[in-house]
């Protein structure tokens, strides 16, 4: 059973809503009526109730849009692929009811797509994104800025490929919102936002809170990430990979397949590359790795026993990627501060 308000709205729009379901079912016969009834009760109801409390005049339109969005999510099985999608309806949209009321279609679509994108990215945390967006909805006054801040949050939740665009977006936001999206309280920021973003752009392993300090904390070489894995266990590689770089990007090869390693402080993913990468870049001379596991980058040196059995390595300006002869994993080494 649903709330009396939703019950009343469903009864008033019964024929139209039922027809929408039937039409969706024509395209996707596997939609289970029971499952969709649950979705209406659990997802549509909270949004409708929240909107009714801030903009009762918009509630009927919001019902239609939310109902259609829920139908789309159920018919495409998005909630089973990424369970956090359901929390768009139960948590984020109700908290952002004042914006959902005025432009429900755009808001819901953006939130669902963003959750789905974060959820589809290997190792990223859509639940964290949902929590952060719920939190930010109380701090920000404008839907546009909120959605923009969402891009920065998505990067922090593990979407390492979105790093450049997220930092560019942060620069376009009000500093108060940008710091909030970067999870740095405005009081902690000892340098201007532009300066901090510039530091973050230069070093993928620098934390935003460190970038906001007047003086960067000391850093040491360490294994910052382990990525990759055997395809039989859900990883990307069928054979132990080799690594390379094209001057900017770190690349991996396994059999005939090529990959790009996208990694930073918040996430690491190995993504299949369909277009052949550019020719290998010049050998990175700043990095050194010996068979004893001694790593050096400029003035920084450290012995990392885990790297004694290293097979091959490649590096770009910030990261050293190391492979092992009998492993499908890649160790990433970088100069980073302690958390």
């Amino acid at each position: 059973m649903v709330s009396p308000l939703l019950g009343k709205l469903l009864a008033a729009n019964r024929t139209e809503l039922n027809l929408r379901f039937e039409r969706a079912r024509l395209a996707e016969p596997s939609i289970e009526p029971k499952a969709f009834e649950r979705a209406v009760a659990e997802w549509v109801d909270p949004v409708v109730i929240a909107v009714a409390s801030v903009a009762p005049q918009d509630v009927e339109e919001v019902l239609r849009v939310t109902y259609t969005a829920a139908l789309d999510v159920v018919s495409r099985g998005l909630a089973s692929q990424c369970p956090a999608v359901s929390r768009v309806f139960t948590e984020v949209a109700p908290r952002a009811a004042r914006w959902v009321a005025s432009d429900p279609e755009r808001l819901l679509r953006a939130l669902i797509r963003a959750t789905q994108s974060v959820g589809a990215f290997p190792g990223a945390g859509p639940e964290k994104w949902i929590l952060e967006m719920s939190r930010l909805s109380a701090q920000i006054d404008d839907a546009e800025h909120w959605l923009e801040a969402g891009k920065v949050v998505a990067w922090r939740c593990g979407l390492s490929t979105a790093r450049d665009s997220a930092l560019a977006t942060a620069l376009g936001l009000e500093p108060r919102i940008a710091w909030d999206a970067l999870s740095v309280s405005e009081g902690e920021a000892a340098v201007p936002l532009v300066e901090a973003v510039s530091r973050l752009q230069a070093d993928p392993w620098l934390a935003p809170k460190h970038a906001a300090m007047e003086k960067l904390p000391p850093r040491e070489l360490q294994i910052v990430r382990i990525c990759g894995g055997f395809s039989g266990f859900g990883g990307p590689f069928r054979q132990p990979p080799t690594v390379d770089h094209d001057g900017e990007r770190l690349l991996a090869r396994s059999g005939d397949e090529q990959f790009e390693i996208c990694a930073d402080l918040f996430g690491a993913a190995v993504l299949r590359v369909t277009v052949p990468p550019a020719p290998a870049g010049p050998v990175e001379t700043r990095w050194k790795l010996t068979s004893t596991g001694a790593v050096a980058k400029g003035d920084l040196t450290r012995v990392l026993p885990e790297l004694r059995s290293a097979g091959a390595w490649a590096a770009n300006r910030s990261t050293l990627a190391v492979t092992f002869p009998h492993s499908h994993r890649i160790a990433l080494v970088a100069a980073a501060s302690s958390p």
Binding site: L10, N13, R14, L17, N18, P33, E37
Partner: protein, 528 residues
Amino acid sequence: MPEWFRKVPEAPTNPAAASGAPASRAFDVAHLYEDPAGTSAAAPSGTALDERLRQAYFWIVNTAILSPFYDIEYEEGPSQRFTFGDSKGLLTLPSAQSYSSFILLPLLNLAVRRRCLLVGGPGRGKTASAVLMGLLAGYSLKEVRRAIQHGQPQMTVTDLLGHPLPKDLVSAESPEQIRIAWRRWLSMRVKIIDEYNRIPTRTQSALLTVMGDNYAEVYDQVYECPDAAWYLTANDDAGGGTYQVIEALRDRIDVVVKALHFNSRFLGDLLARMEAKMRPEDVVPEAIVFREDELSRMHDEILRVVVPIPIRRRIEFFASQFELCEPAGSQFEYKTKDTLKLSGVDPQSVASRDSGRDRVKDLGSQTKNGLSVRALMTALEFVKAMAYFRGERAVALEDVRQIVPFVLHDKLVPDLNSPFFDVPENEVHRVDRIGWIRRLLDLSCAEYDRLGLDREDPVAELDARLRKGLEGVTESQACVEVAKIERLLKEWSSGRKLYGPLFDDILKLKSMHQRYTNYLRWLRWTAK
């Protein structure tokens, strides 16, 4: 008067339907706000509407109209079959609950508010059947009788629709000041036109406006009519009657039902009625009378009956058989019977050029026309109503097989020059149109099975992917789809004869190709 005249058959009238849970419960948002017993989906008496519809059917069949003809046959396991006479006429004893089309189809027409033509010789119960439908819709016998429009050669437009007030005719200074005394029948939800083929042509045109567009017009005054179930009767549906029925009016008729002869073995029943002074229209039980809101809700429930995709595909395949006329156009889209018809060229002269195909096997060669959108929509609605009547929530192939012939009766025009009708066993289909259309459907399904389209249907697979939407589809994915479409067309273009279903599939692929092409253009533009 014996009390059994008023007895309504006890529920469940179709135990299999009542006890067997539907394969998948139909979705209804009402489930979310109604109490678990779902009382508001049922009638005040607690009986569901589909059950009451069946009770109405069985009351009419058992008590009101003697129609011992079970020509809508359903099977549940094997049925006994016997042949009779030199022509080896086949008699089937259906193993499942079967129905009389003469009663059932007018009842379904009441539920879906369409237009039903009852044809047959005089005195066979056509008008009585229509009157009963008016009574089931809650009108009194007096109201129904007064509302029947009796076709006659002198019937004018104002006789049919209403008269201008004489005073206004004299004093009005402009047409809009002339008030019309609209006829009462226009406002009713059951409309009965008796012997419609005796109405003069000009009045038929006025009737067409009411039937087709739901409004009446006299002296620039317009009367908006409510949705209604129409019943028209005719002694001869083949264009006889006093006036030729205009084609547009015939085209508006959704379902044709034949009144069958009286079986003399039931004379005793007639005698009993006569002696008891029983007239069915006087004793319609209250329990099977439907209120206006109940009829509306029943219609909503019928629309929610699901047509499963495998059944829909068979209907599509059947419908695609008829429109192709290869020599009618140079551009692919215009290779249709409609192009030929609009040109005014003698169809025979063109058909003789249509060579290369097996004209006995080609189902399209049996008709002079294809199926209109209206005909297909009507067929789908009646097919759903049939499944609903049987207590099902999804359409079965047998529902399609039983109902479609009555819907397409006047819609598919047979080409009697087709060699199909020269085959001795098919000659009977020159006369029996219901049997012919059912045979067409059977042949179409056999061909569908032969092609194995339930197992492998590349067009349906491509279509299913496209229907998921282009949002998020990458350029390379779209290119893959385009390549698949082109590969399929290339494969089909080499050496295959062009039949109706292939013609529709090719045009479908072209439309999908166009969607992807436009999408790719847009994608490349946005990437710039």
